[in-house]
Amino acid sequence: MSARKIAACAVMVALLIAVQYALGFVSGVELVTVFLLCFCYAFGAGCGMLVATAFSLLRCLIWGFQPAVIVLYLIYYNLFALLFGLAGKKTFPVWLCPALLILLAGACGYFAGTGVPVSALYRGRVAGMLWALFAVSAALFVFYFSVLFAKRGKSGRTLATVTALAAFCTVCFTLLDDAIAPLFYGWTADAAIAYFYAGFLAMLPQTLCAAASVFLLFFPLVRVFSAAAGRIECENAAPRGKSPEK
């Protein structure tokens, strides 16, 4: 890996920490997902996993060293980087986006319909967010099939698929935490289930935020990161002592 790529990764780690810190005070809003997704899409899995590992460890300087959280971040963000790094190189299968959206919408509809046993003070809010996520999934489903045969169908399909993947990954983050924390701390099954339901309150707005931010920012950010990645490749390929032609 060239020094320029390592420098780009370092800048990205700083950006992720700054973004997470700046929005840490705003409930339910995070931009780490969209920034890391677009970086991995443009720079590839190798750079993405380097950024994911460095981010997972360096953020502890601000938020403290909590082993369960470190394990969670290291596992999740490296898999995330691998997934979207590969996504930048390969085409998604046609069935992937609809399958993910059906799964997401189905789960939201099920929990919204049966009710989530969270605090009575939160039930209305959780139900509202579940239906909102159901609506977003349904809208993405319609969007996907409407662009499937459109002139610029490929970019629309890519957008719908990365959006669905980002939302799905955000849900998986909470589910992974629901598995790691009880195992790490040795909680009973009842405690683990209570922790799972209490996590809905953070998971739902984060999932909505991830879907919205990726849908809106994917193409602009990928353009910026791809330009940077392309420029680095050009500079690396230029003979020593000569600047690359623009």
Partner: protein
């Protein structure tokens, strides 16, 4: 006779004064739906006297009644307590909430696996929600204490 009347009057006046002070003290330690049972340097014990609202509402009511002081910010899980009665948690500490409210209305509000606190012969379990998410249920106890995490 006159002296006895004056002494009686003085006695009743002092008694009335004590009663008034005691009543005022009681009023200061309670508010609508909650009462402050005990407070120390870095902990407070609150009892719900009626069902309704959240613990955060109870804290606000007690602050308004002058029974306690607290500051906090709105976080991802609701009210994040920053100080209680002037006490700010030290490095590595945070305000933890324990309650006797376990399973109620189909939801679990605390769990002993996450920690316990002994008070008045009762074992309170660590709350599953912040002050915003804990409902006030009559006769339930809530302890807010600064502890290492």
């Amino acid at each position: 006779m006159k002296k006895a009347n004056r002494l009686s009057a003085a006695f009743f006046a002092v008694a009335a004064l004590f009663a008034a002070v005691a009543l005022a003290a009681c009023a200061q330690k309670s508010a609508e739906g909650v009462s402050l049972k005990e407070s120390g340097e870095h902990y407070v014990v609150i009892e719900a006297t009626a069902t309704g609202g959240s613990l955060a509402d109870g804290l606000a009511a007690l602050q308004e009644a002058g029974a306690l002081e607290y500051t906090g910010t709105a976080g991802q899980y609701g009210l994040f307590l920053e100080s209680v009665n002037g006490y700010v948690p030290a490095e590595g500490e945070a305000f933890m909430i324990y309650t006797t409210l376990g399973e109620y209305g189909g939801a679990v509000y605390s769990n002993a696996s996450w920690g316990t606190y002994e008070y008045g012969g009762k074992t309170l379990a660590c709350a599953a929600y912040g002050a915003d998410g804990l409902p006030l249920v009559e006769d339930a106890l809530y302890v807010i204490v600064a502890q290492p995490y």
